[in-house]
């Protein structure tokens, strides 16, 4: 080390200075440490993700999915009521009976998606909204290719599509585990398409778990604390009862009891329609909340090693889509892992009988409107847009501000800059405050100041590439965006009209003393909502 040799083999008899040696050592140590640490993290990540069972159907189902209005992420949780292994083989009957309390036959339950929960993760943080779709909602079901399969319960789309495709898959030479995998992918695609159409919401990711997977995950996490508002019992009898036997208050559940907790639907007669299947959806919601709480308590979230251990268990039975990047998702969903989630169950028009089966009758348009409002989007009703939400003169009256159409969460898909100019002289309205409000919704804050013109109604104009963002901005003010060659590309210019007095749905401009905003508070839902952060992270349910 004392000598250095050039490429020509000449020896330079020059001793490096101590400072140089120290510098080399420090640089090498730092470089090596960064390299080694990066390698460890990379290896951990690969271990975490490589063994997951993934499904490639999401790319297809996204093609004709309803358009995203912003950068939010919708995740569909599918609970499959199948008593089979992933390769299609039957679970041991005694295990199904004694541990799963799900009858003694692997044929019970078929491939019904008895639990369907759509999680909406807003683009800019904020509360995650989750809706459970009652399994007996009678809807138009769609096949994996998007073709109509006919009216049926929403839970039946998976199994019906799988059955329908079975002969074709066999004809292609598929059998055994390959046949099962292909069939389930078709079932997943059908479920995604059916839910997308029913709710008019795009689905970005899926996570599917069956009874066995649920049991395994619960086993890895047990004991899991849940809370009930009443004592309850539901003896297991021939695949009908869940085996539930819980007391009022906090219960510590093992895996078998956890399954009973989320499957119980008999002897549940809560108030406000919170009965049977619907009460069960709240059990499932509370259970997810408790699991997240449990993971946080045990320090699993944020600990790659512990996460890896859990993933090892989940790799066997959990199916996620192949576009799901764990790190991207972790970045998108701090509120989800932080427990800032509110669950609701969709309501319905009434009970009915179709094809000899009891069903929930629903009007998709009504459901879609509720879901849009819950997710913070504008009312999709084709009502004529008012010229300006604040057009009604309300000079000095201390009445509540006029309510514009519900505000979307208008985060542009591309980074779009919004300039705001103010022609309004209403108290509290400034271009800077409005620009901040728009920035809070995900737009880049641009220029602000007084308007050069004095339009009566608010105007929204946009340059090239900013149409989508402009439409989102315009929806906020209940006006229509127009393109202008004078506006720079990727720019939207908002001119607040002289009649503009503020957007009622903005928290900062909400009059003092009003109730905190809860998008679900005024919406028709089945039973009470379940707030994951209530009761110390273990929400009490019926």
């Amino acid at each position: 080390m004392a000598d250095s040799t050039g490429d020509d083999g000449r020896t330079e008899a020059r001793r490096p200075s101590p400072a140089l040696i120290a510098g080399r050592v420090l640089a090498c140590a730092t470089g090596f440490a960064v390299f080694a640490a990066s390698g460890v993290v990379w290896y951990g990540y690969k271990q975490l993700t490589d063994g997951m069972t993934t499904s490639g159907v999401i790319a297809e189902t996204k093609k004709d999915a309803p358009k995203h209005l912003d950068n939010s992420v919708n995740l569909l949780l599918i609970g499959l009521d199948s008593r089979k292994n992933m390769d299609g083989t039957d679970l041991p009957p005694e295990f199904v009976q004694d541990e799963l309390h799900a009858g003694h036959s692997s044929d019970i339950g078929g491939y019904n998606t008895n639990s369907l929960i759509l999680l909406h993760i807003p683009a800019n943080g904020g509360k995650v909204q989750a809706v459970s779709i009652p399994r007996d909602d009678y809807v138009m079901t769609y096949g994996a290719d998007g073709s109509q399969m006919g009216m049926a319960k929403v839970k039946e789309a998976y199994g019906a599509a799988k059955d329908k495709a079975d002969a074709g898959l066999r004809a292609k030479g598929l059998k055994g585990a390959d046949l099962e995998k292909a069939g389930r992918d078709i079932g997943r695609a059908a479920t995604i398409r059916t839910v997308q159409k029913f709710l008019d919401q795009p689905i970005d990711h899926i996570a599917e778990v069956n009874l066995m997977g649920f049991y395994d995950i619960a086993k890895a996490l047990q004991p899991i604390e849940v809370c009930l508002t009443h004592d309850t019992k539901d003896p297991a009898m021939e695949g009908q009862g869940s085996g539930a036997d819980f007391h009022k208050g906090v219960n510590k559940l093992n895996a078998s009891q956890a399954l009973s907790f989320v499957r119980q639907r008999h002897n549940l007669d809560g108030p406000d329609g919170n009965t049977g299947d619907f009460a069960r959806t709240h059990r499932q919601q509370a259970f997810i909340s408790s699991v997240v709480h449990n993971l946080k308590q045990k320090g699993v979230i944020g600990d790659l090693g512990k996460m890896q251990e859990l993933m090892g268990v989940m790799q066997k039975d959990l199916v996620i889509d192949n576009e799901w990047n764990v790190l991207d998702f972790a970045q998108q969903a701090p509120n989800l892992t932080g427990g800032n989630v509110e669950f609701n169950t969709l309501t319905f028009d009434g009970f009915g009988t179709r094809n000899g089966q009891d069903v929930n009758l629903v009007t998709p348009a009504k459901v879609q409107k509720v879901v849009k409002q819950l997710f913070g989007y504008a009312d999709a009703a084709p009502a004529p847009a008012p010229a300006d939400p604040a057009a009604t003169p309300a000079p000095a009256q201390p009445t509540a501000a006029p309510t514009p159409p519900p505000t979307p969460s208008p985060t542009s898909v591309r980074p779009v800059t919004v300039d705001v100019f103010n022609a309004s002289s209403a108290a509290g309205v400034t271009s800077a405050a409005e620009a901040k409000a728009l920035a809070g919704l995900g737009f880049k804050e641009g220029h602000t100041g007084p308007a050069g013109t004095r339009p009566k109604t608010t105007t929204v104009v946009y340059g090239k590439g900013a149409k989508e963002a402009a439409e989102q901005v315009a929806a906020r003010y209940g006006v229509t965006a127009t393109e202008s060659a004078a506006t720079a590309a990727d720019h939207v210019v908002v001119t607040l009209g002289t009649t503009f007095t503020g957007v009622a749905t903005d928290e900062p401009t909400t009059p003092a003393g009003s109730t905190p905003t809860d998008p679900a508070a005024s919406l028709p839902m089945q039973g009470p909502s379940v707030d994951a952060q209530s009761d110390g992270g273990i929400p009490c349910v019926y």
Binding site: G6, G9, R24, A27, V34, Q331, P334
Partner: protein, 96 residues
């Protein structure tokens, strides 16, 4: 970043190893991972500052490392290969 960044990192590190003196090889090998990670972090922070607030920074840093490591490894491998070739050629000249 992606493929273009990886190619540039590999070519840059290889070129640096080819042009530097023996003393410089230390610096090339040591600096390569730091430069890859530093450039990744700087570009991401400049492009998406809003994403990396609070907890987002920790998740983001994990992402940079996971995506950056293969590039670091490829760049380091390129430098090692170039250095090995130079050593072999130098030895041959000495003995030839």
């Amino acid at each position: 970043m992606g493929l273009a960044f990886a190619v540039a990192a590999v070519l840059g590190t290889g070129l640096a190893a080819a042009l530097s003196s023996r003393n410089g090889w230390w610096w090339v090998l040591a600096a390569s991972p730091l430069v890859v990670l530093g450039v990744t972090a700087a570009v991401e922070l400049a492009a998406h500052r809003d994403r990396y607030q609070g907890k987002g920074l920790a998740t983001g840093a994990a992402k940079w490392v996971v995506h950056g490591f293969p590039v670091m490894a490829e760049a380091a491998a390129a430098a090692v290969i170039v250095i090995a070739v130079r050593l072999v050629r130098a030895r041959r000249r000495q003995h030839g």
